[in-house]
Symmetry: C2
DNA sequence: AACTGTGAAGGGTTTCACAGCC
DNA sequence: GGCTGTGAAACCCTTCACAGTT
């Protein structure tokens, strides 16, 4: 099955949606409802679920519990994934202290910074280490988060890649250059807003979902 | 021209790339180079630029200055855009104090929180206001950023929408339900990582760009 | 030699529409 | 009546390939 990229993003949305509905006690969910909340066409929802082997009951919908469980397993969220975080400034500590990552099964296992004043300090239950120790000599998580000033982002990315990271969440506005096989997710607000403006300045037009 | 959504994202990438090359003093840039740095196929780059009316010179490439200027204009970055930020916690203040937004022409014009201990305080050159004043009675920016605890996110989103916001950058993991016409960008790290895991757990497979 | 501009092919995704089932 | 499951069509996007230009 040549898995499209859009699918993975949709699955994540379904999961968030079904997780919320599950907490509300619903034990059946329809493709229409999932579509409504996630902005996906109901037919597409059915296709996606069928593709995962999740079958529904006609006239009723899908079993909430089954959808939830299968999505978690398929997305790999039934295990804990370690994450290495670089940058112990305001943003970095906000991320490190956030419950969001923990809720989804991510654990910040390492915290680095270059500032000697920060190295050795404790943030939560982590000790800030010198970023120069991030050199590939040590077994590291596959996931890295960059929360440093933009001008140091590429250098940090290089170190992360060298130490085995294959997924980078980039909080800076630097355009990172990484080898093929390494994924970068840009999450700085200006990146998000930039391509949104494109539609804002053309207000009135339909926005593709 | 029925504008695809992928295009807007690519344009933002081209701009970041060409901005960097411009600062290095290059006055011509090829589709190959733009593609290399942004991970886009060169043919696609040429298509995109041609679609914007940017013509290149065969054998040479595109004029850096023209590409830069046109992209900025098309993306609406030649004007300053006001932003309303809700949440004055660690994350909120990190965002408010960030240079990233300013660099791209965004200005945090309003800062709200619900915590009485924070209301009235100054963050940078902003005064934290009571989130209850965010009720649509006042002319507000079209762009909002949510940096509050997840459980309050939907309520804040409702207030933002009521006050005229049409683009929301959501730092929480809540799945926001908004009227058609309002765009939500989820930037919490777990959202980004969730669909990435899908590929991580299938490591070795090709990842669609 | 280098690079643009574009017809044409290819692939994947989204949507419609409706038969089948509860 | 409500909803799933799926052929089939439409659509969009992407990529190849190459003629054309400097």
């Amino acid at each position: 099955m040549a898995v499209g990229r859009g699918l993975a993003r949709r699955l994540a949305k379904y999961l968030r949606c079904v997780a919320a509905l599950r907490e509300e006690g619903l034990d059946a969910v329809s493709s229409w409802m999932l579509g409504e909340y996630t902005g996906v066409n109901p037919a597409q929802v059915r296709r996606d679920l069928a593709g995962l082997g999740i079958g529904g009951t006609r006239g009723v919908g899908y079993e909430t519990e089954e959808v939830f469980g299968t999505l978690r397993r398929v997305l790999g969220l039934d295990r804990v994934h370690d994450v290495v975080l670089v940058g112990a400034g305001r943003l970095g500590t906000a991320v490190a202290g956030s419950e969001l990552l923990v809720k989804r099964g991510f654990r910040v296992a390492q915290l680095f910074d270059r500032d000697p004043a920060k190295i050795g300090r404790r943030v939560g239950n982590l000790t800030v280490r010198d970023v120069r120790e991030l050199d590939g000599g040590e077994r590291m998580p596959e996931i890295g988060i960059i929360a440093v000033p933009s001008q140091n982002a590429q250098e940090v990315a290089d170190r992360l890649v060298a130490s085995g990271v294959v997924v980078i969440v980039n909080y800076t506005d630097a355009l990172l250059h990484v080898p093929a096989g390494v994924q970068v997710h840009d999450v700085d607000p200006s990146s998000q807003l930039m391509h949104t403006l494109y539609y804002l300045t053309r207000s009135g037009e339909e926005i593709p979902a």
